[in-house]
């Protein structure tokens, strides 16, 4: 079902340009220019910076009043020039549109053409510069669709088919954390699979070095993006964050595609590894059998004693929410409420959602185009009972006021330390998630004196 109000009280997502911006920081030597008001950049930088506890660069075309009235393409031209002059290493400049500049109808494709034929030829001849127009009007979709669209734009701009396949797979991670990238790279290494990880944001968990040299930046290069067309296959972990580009590579360059599942939990990680094996012919090694065993050992200590029938509400990015719900079911819990925070028309036909609806043996509500009021209202005014909530930091007051403990997952998680470092994917992610859930429930039991003595012997 979809929420039956017109507006949003306490949104789950921000708008499309944020998704494009988050994607852009995963690319090396790339600084995006957001074509719109300055707030569209300043606040998104703050948001991502709060989440990662790092800084990075994104520029604005700084559209002011006269631009909004008379058109502001001149400011894009100026922004590109100023950026290229002052950042000599920059090669990739996505031009990201916003509601403001889409409404006034600024033609960013046209201005890119003009710059390519003019400024770049005259002033920057010989320098490798890629200007990529990305249309992300804020009144369409959400940050999730913005990420998906921008990913398609990057891939379709760069991808080429070489004569010989490059022997790599494309692994499109979707909207994840540095810790997830580390976990995925570990699985790939164990499988001895050579992969092109898009987008490589692992280095955003960056050090503070005595020589002051550390800078946080993405590590997906122009060459990586170019070679996506020559890969032996693409695996997109998330349907809604990379699905479009994966299909593009399949239709345009015959790169075989597998979309999903999001490798959250044991079962989905198993499927992911099987898919990897199928695509590359590489066997799943003994080391991963053992690693899987350690995770299962951990889960076994927790499931029937503590997790069975625990009622959970989950909100956030759609693939994350669905993956977590599937894992919760394997852990014997009851995901009673799932909130998907935008109006994506594909959700009702998502086979995973159908599978959930057909097979769970308790009342499960899936609310689409949801906001956090849908959750709070149910708990406060409609008698919904929950043992815990899984979601991002914007629900913190809601969870506190409902008296329900919350496990922080997804984006953003600025109100807890180091969440970006921990994976939710792979066997490592399954272990971390289960332990985080358990410890959150334990702390709540002690705080509320709810069978807290159970933990005396365990």
């Amino acid at each position: 079902m979809a929420k039956n109000r017109g507006g949003v009280i306490n949104p789950i997502f921000t708008c499309q340009p944020c998704g494009a911006q988050f994607l852009s920081i995963g690319v090396k030597d790339c600084i995006g220019i957001v074509h719109g008001g300055q707030g569209c950049v300043m606040f998104v930088r703050l948001l991502i910076s709060q989440h990662l506890k790092e800084s990075f660069e994104i520029a604005s075309s700084s559209v002011h009043e006269e631009g909004a009235v008379f058109g502001a393409l001149r400011r894009v031209e100026e922004a590109v020039d100023v950026l290229l002059m002052r950042y000599p290493k920059v090669k990739v400049v996505p031009i990201i549109s916003t509601c403001c500049t889409e409404v006034i109808g600024d033609d960013i494709d046209g201005v890119v053409k003009k710059l390519n034929e003019g400024l770049l030829q005259e002033k920057y001849k010989g320098r490798e510069v890629h200007l990529i127009p990305i249309h992300t009007p804020s009144f369409v979709g959400s940050m999730v669709t913005g990420y998906d669209c921008a990913l398609l734009d990057f891939v379709s701009y760069f991808a080429r088919k070489e004569e010989k396949p490059n022997g790599k797979i494309n692994l499109i991670t979707g909207w994840v954390n540095p810790g997830d990238v580390t976990a995925l790279k570990h699985l790939l290494a164990e499988m001895k699979v050579d992969a092109n990880v898009l987008f490589e944001i692992e280095a955003f968990d960056s050090p503070l070095l005595p020589d002051k040299s550390a800078v946080s930046h993405g590590n997906t290069t122009v060459e990586d993006l170019r070679s996506t067309g020559s890969a032996i296959g693409t695996i997109a972990l998330n349907r809604y964050e990379g699905g479009k580009a994966t299909k593009y590579l399949e239709t345009e360059f015959n790169v075989p595609a597998i979309i999903g599942p999001t490798p959250i939990g044991i079962r989905n990680t198993d499927t992911f590894l099987k898919n990897l094996s199928k695509m590359t012919g590489k066997p799943i090694p003994e080391s991963l059998v053992r690693e899987r065993g350690i995770a299962i050992d951990t889960l076994t200590d927790l499931t029937h004693m503590f997790f069975a029938d625990k009622r959970v509400a989950i909100y956030g990015n759609p693939d994350l929410v669905i993956g977590l719900a599937q894992f919760c079911l394997d852990l014997e819990m009851k995901p009673v409420l799932l909130l998907l925070g935008d109006d994506n028309a594909a959700y009702p036909n998502d086979p995973r959602i159908k599978e959930l609806k057909d097979n769970v043996d308790f009342d499960m509500e899936i609310v689409m185009n949801a906001d956090l009021w849908e959750l709070e209202d149910r708990v406060k005014n409609k008698g919904l009972k929950l043992d815990f909530i899984m979601g991002h930091s914007k629900g913190r007051f809601m969870a506190m006021d409902c008296g329900v403990p919350m496990v922080r997952v997804g984006f953003p998680t600025y109100d807890r330390a180091g969440m970006f470092r921990h994976p939710v994917v792979g066997y490592a992610g399954a272990t971390w998630l289960a332990e985080e859930i358990a410890n959150t429930i334990f702390t709540d039991m002690e705080y509320k004196k709810n069978k807290e003595w159970v933990l005396n012997v365990w």
Binding site: R5, G6, G7, V8, I9, N10, P11, F13, T14, C15, C18, I31, I33, G36, G37, Q38, G39, C40, M42, F43, L46, L47, S49, Q50, S55, I58, A59, S60, S62, E65, G67, A68, R75, V76, E78, A79, V80, D81, V82, L83, M85, R86, T98, C99, C100, V103, I104, S138, F139, V140, S142, M143, S206, P210, D211, K212, S216, D343, F397, D401
Partner: protein, 534 residues
Amino acid sequence: MPYHEFECSKCIPERKLHAVVKGPGEDLTSALPLGYLNTIPGSISERGCAYCGAKHVIGTPMKDVIHMSHGPVGCTYDTWQTKRYISDNDNFQLKYTYATDMKEKHVVFGAEKLLKQNIIEAFKAFPKIKRMTIYQTCASALIGDDINAIAEEVMEEMPEVDIFVCNSPGFGGPSQSGGHHKINIAWIDQKVGKVEPKITSKYVINYVGEYNIQGDEEVMLDYFNRMGIQVLSSFTGNGSYDDLRGMHRAHLNVLECARSAEYICNELRKRYGIPRLDIDGFGFGPLSASLRKVAMFFGIEDRANAIIEEEIKRWKPELDWYKERLKGKKVCLWPGGSKLWHWAHVIHDEMGVDVVSVYTKFGHQGDMEKGIARCEEGALAIDDPNELEGLEAMENLKPDIIFTGKRPGEVAKKIRVPYLNAHAYHNGPWKGFEGWVRFARDIYNAINSPIYQLSGLDISKDEIPTDVGFKTRRMISDVNLSEEARKVPGCGYTGPYDIVPEIQKRNKAYREQQLKLAGESTPAETPVPAEAAA
């Protein structure tokens, strides 16, 4: 030449007029950077937009209001939960935010119907809240929705509610400052004079340009209460919508942040003849002078003096303990607006630190004039700094600490410059006498952090002492202290983690008591002493 040209900005020569060095004996008028001009696109400035200046800075601190943005969801989401302006209304204003969630079809066909539906739904979801502010965004401004008309329509249909409309789209002006202006004027035009407040004292003020960051407003309110002054309204930190509709009945407007809220004071003077008095709640000296000035206006200096004497006696030794240990530390004072001039001299005078640079993101030339006049010789003043200029300045000036925002703070961290959050504070409140000691404590802790010291060691090259198990902050800070200074007893700040709940309780009780008294008789002739209120 006073102008400073950054290496990184040589290719954008217009930037040269935006930075100056205050040279010895320099005439201020020749050393004033340009300010509040259009941002250079692509320069990676730190500026925000006029929507955030209106909604995020000034609108949202109002505590009993549904804050609704008419536009796509992002403006709302992005400006939600990124501030530390608390309130005594269970932080309602921090917890809830509302967006009309404008979609493509609304852009094409108009979103006025959607807006009306939203307003009604929001009041229905929160039946106890009867006040609302609607903020225009870029999208709703460009499609030309008549928000005022819809608000009027709803107010006619629902007489118990009142709605304020703020038309300040993001593109209006070079920075958030344009939004400050717009919401100031919109408030006085639409709302002031619409409620007759209950007067409970002979001395009545509005406390303006104060946003209750970490409880600043409560701290100041406590002083005013102790002087028997009625604070009719706070614009807007911890402010109540209906209190603010009665601003016209104050005898005096006491203005804290002249950057963001001088407009409404000037209008109140023009329209209602209420004088404006600029004050400063930061620092023992400026705060004392401010309390005296306000008291002098009403002829009650003795009350101000009593408070000042008591507070300074209590807190001066702790401040001095820090001053001794912060002497000569170099500071980049890089806040947003008014702290530029509020802190420029007083952190030097009272904490002993040297301000080597000041900057402003959205300030005007007048703000820089005040800041540069007050900071020390040799300081570098920058208007609308960008990412590379900030880095270059830190590399050249080698500050011991910077006071700036969260994200620029992350930039500083990587080049081993500790930072304090100048907008939201580390462990505030920083206003008031005790607050000022808390600020000094935060500076001291940041500079003398043992972990910060370790961050400079390269274990592959440097000599590492292997017989040291730990260091305390004091072992670091007292190394170069004179024998005499070391002997002075004390250990810095002795107050609790959170000082606000106690003050909040006192302030609430005082207000209730005053209203009760006023209900029973004529306005109180003699103010109730603070002890009685407590």
